[in-house]
């Protein structure tokens, strides 16, 4: 009986996706929180039902069943650089912080300065432990002084929520994890504005880099739209309710059809963010790596009070012992996450945090956390690639020049 009810009331069963009825029904039940765990043991986003239509290849990613690619990592990567790509990033966590003390509370929790934000601004920030290690990196959206939205890494959502709640005593704030009802699509690339503008009367040109608009009407779908992303290109991140996610995806895909828009997966999301030297939590940032070591001190305001400040002030004063650097392999091979970095004497000096044969840069490059003595550009180091040592040179992390919208 319950299932029949679902079939009749499910809003996104239309003839062209009828073939995928079963997964749509399961998806619907999941959205109602009636079904949570699946065959692969993973969680699914509200867009799971459309992956197959676009030839998505699903993998397990931190407990989520997500598409690593649709047509191919390289072609999706290049589509984002040259035209546009659409990513399902609904696995990301969304936590709201509201109340009279919301601004003061986040000023104390986050490393960046939320008091310097205007309403409708977005900032990138860290939450740090007392020792300066990173709880998570996130985007903070400011509606006004009393209402913020934090967008956090999927695998850290529970940890972040607990961390916020733990430190909220004495503040007049309400903290809610709304991840389970929120879908997020990332429309990225030079054609992103043109595609999205076809679907809304909101003047997108007026939305500057790292600004957002709430309650934007996208063909009848109420969305929060921000000019943000994780690719090094211009683009938007679009949030809506779960049940409207597939409709929104299909509207965007149709609008972008003539402009080279491609469905894009986690594989190209990672190669794109890597080329733009944007950090990934768990690799460039961890509980053991501070934002200063990762070269992201710009997002840490040491002239205000926040959790972890003392440790970071001390680290800065004492001088960094290690630092995140870019490198280029001078011999054949590909450096991967966690490969060891050694010096000429074969002594351990660090490890690779991310490495790829980069699709747009065309070289085999990487990011590595190395002993400060080896962090100067031009320094020769060696990456242990299986049994071989492959020669590499320390280079700037600016592998790729970002193409963000100028304010």
């Amino acid at each position: 009986m319950a299932r029949r009810f679902c079939v009749q009331s499910c809003p996104f069963i239309v003839p062209e996706i009828i073939w995928n009825l079963k997964s749509i029904i399961i998806e619907y039940l999941c959205n109602l929180n009636l079904v949570r765990r699946r065959k692969m043991g993973g969680k699914r986003t509200p867009l799971y039902g459309i992956y197959q239509k676009y030839q998505g290849k699903v993998i397990d990613y931190s407990g989520w069943e997500l598409p690593v690619q649709f047509t191919g990592i390289t072609s999706e990567h290049l589509a984002v650089r040259q035209a546009a790509g659409l990513f399902d990033v609904s696995h990301m966590g969304e936590i709201t912080v509201s109340g009279n003390d919301a601004e003061g509370f986040l000023q104390y929790i986050l490393t960046n300065d939320v008091t310097a934000m205007n309403d409708n601004d977005v900032i990138y920030s860290f939450m740090c432990y007392e020792n300066g290690g990173v709880v998570d990196d996130l985007l903070a959206y400011k509606y006004d002084k009393t209402a913020f939205l934090l967008v956090v890494n999927a695998s850290n959502t529970v940890k972040d929520y607990d961390w916020l709640v733990k430190h909220a005593s004495g503040y007049d704030v309400e903290i809610s994890d709304i991840s389970h009802q929120t879908a997020e699509l990332a429309l990225q690339g030079p054609k992103a504005e043109e595609i999205l503008q076809k679907l809304t009367d909101q003047d997108l040109n007026s939305v500057g880099f790292f600004q957002f608009r709430d309650n934007v009407d996208v063909q009848g779908i109420a969305c929060l739209i921000s000019r943000t992303g994780y690719t090094g290109e211009d683009g938007f991140e679009i949030y809506t309710d779960n049940e409207l996610a597939i409709k929104l995806w299909e509207l965007l895909m149709d609008a972008g059809q003539d402009l080279g828009l491609k469905a894009a997966g986690l594989g190209s999301r990672d190669t794109l963010r890597f080329e733009a030297a944007l950090p990934l939590y768990g690799q460039e940032l961890t509980e053991q790596i501070t934002p200063l070591e990762a070269g992201l001190g710009y997002f840490v305001k040491l002239d205000k009070d926040f959790i972890g400040k003392n440790a970071l002030v001390q680290q800065k004063k004492a001088g960094l012992k290690r630092k995140l650097v870019g490198f280029e392999l001078l011999e054949k091979g590909i450096a991967r996450h966690e490969y060891q970095v050694v010096n000429q004497e074969n002594e351990d000096i660090g490890w690779v945090t991310t490495g790829y044969k980069a699709p747009s840069v065309g070289k085999s490059i990487g990011l590595a956390l190395v002993n400060i003595d080896y962090s100067k550009r031009g320094t020769i180091v060696f990456i242990r690639v299986r049994k071989k040592l492959v020669k590499a040179k320390v280079i700037s992390k600016k592998f790729y020049s970002k193409n963000y919208k100028k304010i």
């Binding site: 990592i73 390289t74 594989g267 190669t271 091979g333 590909i334 991967r336 044969k357 085999s364």
Partner: protein, 129 residues
């Protein structure tokens, strides 16, 4: 998925094709499809000797590196160096673009490999799991 009648197969998705007194070895269509775009192939040296089951090379896609295992004991007598400059050849035709030619120590080891029908069943059994 393409499976060639004239090849023998391993559970690690290598194919073996007898070519006069040597065998050619490559990776199967199933393997290249599972990996996605191949961007680098690490090849062994000429004259290197391997035992059956030993890693003799690596195929890398954008995302990951996968070992290639020697299906049979023997000595490498030729290496497809074309793959160094154009590793994507494996994606476009995995059976034409062999990786190494090997002189076998013991041709009886061929009997232990799967034929095309057996390999197809093997692949189907993985996919249904």
């Amino acid at each position: 998925m393409i499976i060639m009648e004239n090849c023998l197969y391993t559970k690690e998705h290598e194919w073996v094709r007898v070519d006069l007194d040597t065998v050619l070895i490559g990776i199967t269509d199933y393997a290249q499809h599972a990996m996605g775009e191949i961007v680098y192939v690490e090849l062994p040296e000429d004259d290197a000797a391997y035992e059956q089951g030993e890693v003799f090379g690596v195929v890398e896609s954008v995302k990951a590196a996968s070992d290639i295992y020697m299906p049979l004991s023997g000595t490498v007598i030729k290496v497809n160096t074309e793959l160094e400059d154009d590793p994507g050849l494996i994606n476009s035709d995995p059976y034409q673009n062999w990786i190494v030619g090997v002189k076998l120590n013991d041709s009886k080891q061929l009997d232990g490999l799967m034929n095309a029908v057996e390999y197809e069943q093997f692949c189907n059994s993985i996919d249904s799991n």
